[in-house]
């Protein structure tokens, strides 16, 4: 456990004069972490669905296959998003 005491910011240093107080932007770090977690969870759902599907009868399998396809599509979308954000971030406005 860290023995370092967390730095305490005085409220007046954290609060703005207005609605800016509410502007806690989703960070690239946090967004990337969310994507990584979701990709991991999606892969796990696919793995489990594939196992179940292999054990089921043909009748039950049709529904499982549809769900599996939807989950695979979602996984592709998540991975594309991670790449898209990485690329676009590199082209961010440089300022003045």
């Amino acid at each position: 456990m860290s023995q370092e005491k967390a730095e305490t910011l005085p409220p007046e240093a954290m609060l703005g004069p207005s609605d800016w107080d509410d502007e806690d932007l989703l960070t690239v770090v946090e967004a990337s972490e969310r994507l990584v977690e979701e990709i991991k969870a999606s892969r796990e759902r696919i793995r489990q669905a594939e196992e179940v599907s292999a054990e089921q009868s043909l009748v039950h399998r049709a529904a499982e296959v549809a769900g599996l396809e939807a989950e695979r599509k979602r996984l592709e979308e998540l991975m594309r998003a991670a790449e898209r954000i990485r690329t676009a971030q590199a082209n961010a406005p440089k300022g003045p």
């Binding site: 240093a13 609060l15 207005s18 509410d22 969310r34 954000i85 300022g95």
Partner: protein, 384 residues
Amino acid sequence: MPLQDDMQLISVDDHLIEHPRVWADRLLPKYQEVGPHIVEVPRAKGGPPSQVWEYQGKTYPQIGLNAVAGKKPEEYGIDPSRYDEMLPGCYDPVQRLADMDLDGVEAALCFPSFPRFAGTVFLEGEDRDVALACVKAFNDFILDEWCAAAPHRYIPLVILPLWDVDLAVAEVHRTAARGAKTIAFPENPSPLGLPSIHTDHWDPLFSVAEEYDLPLSLHFGTSGQSPRPSPDGPLAVSISLFSCNSMYALSDLLFSPVFHRHPKLKVALSEGGIGWVPFMLERADYVWERHRFYQNVNQEHRPSELYFKHVYSCFIEDRHGLQSRDEVGLDNILWECDYPHSDSNWPNSRKIAEEVFMKVPDEDVHKIVELNARRVFNFPRAEQ
């Protein structure tokens, strides 16, 4: 599953960050130097310089690029940062559409950042001509650039030159003709040094809003005040109490002449949640029953009656409010996801919505996530 595939999620409270050229691309050359532009300043804790807005000679440390960029949640604080530390969907409308697709969100109403949510930053600065040009430039940006990227997916919200009601009315005429769907207005103009809603000052503005059927969007915090019970309390106190701003705004409206003078006016309370609404209405009606006789309040219409006719409230996750949806008013509830603020559930807004609405009938869900917003903001689905 109550949230059906054909129900489109419409978020009535999202946010955009203005890119560095929003005003530079639109202001006349004589205003360029004093108009909003990005400057770089050294960061207190080292690293690449922060990018901040400068306007009429004043630097604004909270620029909408601020807060928690690049930090872990336990390190959140208010600290300016840079565009390259933000999600591109914050400032790029095409990237935003991709973020919305991933999130399962069809359409979004985006509030400004640097101008503040109701454009009140342009009340500051001595040169009103510059301020008016800046208001118009922002509205041109939102109409011609941001929303034009996908007109059926962005609900255009415009800001006003609040220091002059005649100019504000003129800007409503100008922007309504070009597709504006709602007007940002402070939750309470009085703390900003402007006339209160209990005066007749705003009547011309509210009348023109009625004329074009443009709802006023009142985002919490736009009065310039944050709930702060103790000066040395943690920020968490303020964040957990933000909805109180919407309670103040609602009570102020319900006991004001506004809805009596403007029977067609609509008001959307943004980001305030809904769970408190039944209590507030019960309390307001109780007060009206007992105390209206000796006060300058309308004697004929109960506050709750005015609410259900004029006011709309929204939520991200508010299970308590959703359980009380009949008392909040099924036709008065809107949905929001608050992207790109960290309160949002991106990229799982639709998934979370499915869970939140699991025990709510399909018909009610459809009203809350889509149909009410389309009706209130006159924003029909795109024809296939």
